[in-house]
Point group: C2
Chain length 359, copies 2
């Protein structure tokens, strides 16, 4: 922790590990825009990106290589955000917690550890206070795209079951995902592809990057790794994270995750069944008042959420809110949110601020 020459409680230092990646690139402007609660902000990345100079809070900041030395001077009261792959987080989070820092990790490395709170500040902020391992985890971007809306409705009606289908963007697979989608767009623009069997697949060839099939002019019903019984890791994570966040360990969650040719912005259809009778009018009021959520729901004037509108914005957009025709206890709705902002960088920043406020 940096000393504060003025006396009193010094501002905590913040380190960002993974500062040059797809999510880090989004986090730095967010740190510049939000209330400045930090002392030093240190940027850390892989050795390959070390030495780059990035702007944060208006100051040029040189990126340090991820080594033990990068955390010199950090200790109790300081916070380290990890925007790194699971393996990197698993290796380096213990290094900073051993120094007494609090780690905020957005990878899957610690999300299911019962001694690591899983936190979305709009949903369960107090959970961040109890962190036996010195780690707070954020959920995945798919969960974050719908949990704000689902949580607001759950608080009123009591959630009984969820059925969700996703429309997930390329950038959640990192810069490589965006690059391959853009390459594929260039291949199909100006052609008549997409009308004959396999023509898109032949044109794209093996250039599918992190995706298991061509993404342009296509949708790909697979996100993540293969888990048991035909489930994808993304589907199981969304179910497990939703249960943890809402403290509903037995909640039935049916989910199918699908990748769509969108650069940034995850969307989801949600069919939610509650314990109590719902009304569309009250649901609209609850969603309009929910933190981190913006209600966009007037189909008569073309108002509904789309990822192209939600990209680059902080809240999750919610619309198409209807009471189910066959069940007075169920609602249908559609959400779109920026998978790099609330789905990753913003949620991490919010958790770090929450931790800093009570350190």
């Amino acid at each position: 922790m940096n000393t504060d020459a003025g006396g009193g409680r010094p501002a905590p230092a913040l380190a960002v590990v993974g500062a040059t990646g797809a999510v880090g690139t989004v986090l730095l402007p967010i740190l510049s825009q939000r209330a400045d609660v930090w002392g030093e902000i240190r940027l850390i990345a892989s050795a390959r990106s070390a030495g780059r100079v990035l702007g944060v809070r208006g100051a040029d900041t040189e990126v340090m290589a991820l080594t033990e030395d990068a955390f010199d001077g950090f200790g109790p009261g300081d916070v380290v955000i990890f925007l790194t792959p699971r393996e990197v987080s698993a290796r380096w989070v213990p290094v900073v917690t051993a120094r007494g820092c609090v780690a905020v990790d957005r990878s899957g490395a610690f999300r299911m550890d019962p001694e690591v709170p899983l936190v979305v500040p709009e949903i369960n902020p107090t959970a961040a206070r109890v962190r036996p391992r010195g780690v707070v985890a954020g959920p995945g971007c798919a969960t974050l795209s719908m949990i704000g809306a689902v949580g607001a409705l759950h608080a009123e009606y009591g959630l009984a079951a969820l059925s969700v289908s996703s429309y997930q963007a390329a950038s959640a697979a990192g810069r490589a995902g965006v690059d391959v989608l853009r390459k594929q767009l260039a291949l199909v623009a100006g052609t008549a592809l997409g009308e004959q069997p396999g023509d898109v697949r032949r044109a794209v060839g093996e250039e599918t990057g992190p995706f298991p099939a061509p993404l342009v002019l296509n949708v790909v019903p697979w996100v993540g790794d293969l888990a048991e019984d035909g489930w994808s890791s993304e589907e199981l994570s969304l179910r497990a994270e939703t249960r943890r966040l809402l403290a509903l360990p037995e909640l039935p969650v049916a989910v199918t995750c699908v990748r769509v040719p969108v650069v940034t912005g995850h969307s989801m259809t949600v069919h939610a069944r509650f314990e109590r009778e719902v009304s569309a009018a009250t649901a609209h009021e609850l969603l309009a008042a929910a933190p981190g959520v913006v209600l966009v729901d007037d189909p008569a004037t073309g108002e509904f959420p789309t990822p192209a509108d939600a990209v680059g914005t902080d809240p999750v957009w919610v619309g198409r809110v209807r009471r189910s025709l066959d069940d007075v206890r169920s609602l249908e709705f559609f959400v779109s949110g920026d998978n790099l902002r609330k789905g990753a960088a913003l949620n991490a920043a919010q958790i770090a601020e929450l931790v800093a406020a009570e350190l």
Copy 2:
């Protein structure tokens, strides 16, 4: 009906109204490929397209303008397929049924008429035999993309509830839908669009064609017209058609329809709850044996349905078949089917053949 010089039962004549549209263009090769049960095949379209010469069964055929005279010589025992918008069907179907022809209509004009059977030959073929008004209707392309799989599972397990989300292609909105998607693809190829708030919407401008928002690098949670309480006509149709086809008038159907930037090929996630316990293994066997369905389900080797693979093929592709983790009576799966073939032209041809076989 044409006379058959060889004596015996003459082959029925077939007229195709709307022969030059997006669906008609797909139907003519289908008629050339399938068993030839027809006498004369007459092609009819709007006055604007009259005089064009199209090939069907290897013969050049001049397109006639849609007038009363176009049906000269047609009478009892002949069949007229309508691939026309609702208003055109509503106006012209009665003209041909007054002559004693059977009309096969794929528009929404007659789908909910209790005196008009709604038919998918793999699901309810015998329903086509009772047609008090001389009309047989086919359902919409969204329903057709999943009903084959749902019907096969229903026959074994007894369907109790459906929750479906769609990923619908541009060509279901006709040639104008495809054209505008291709224009938008050209606008975004080679750019960095899709990463800043509203940048795709600004680039596309008002060029959204039949869609209420830009489709490229986007998904649009709206298909059809505005119905009551925030529902779209497409969502209500899918529910009503599914209930009629399966003869389950009270079936709970939760549905959200979404347009995606795919040229041709509707996809859907399906969460289906049944009366009886299901097993994934048996579900796989049922789907593999179901007519009009092909099972593509081996995620370990990248095998799952996508619209880019299903386009131009007859069957609906089904994969990602899993038993729900929280309910032994529920299955999750994903389907992709060509919305112009089984979703429109092929289903109409199959109904016409069914009718011809028992005339």
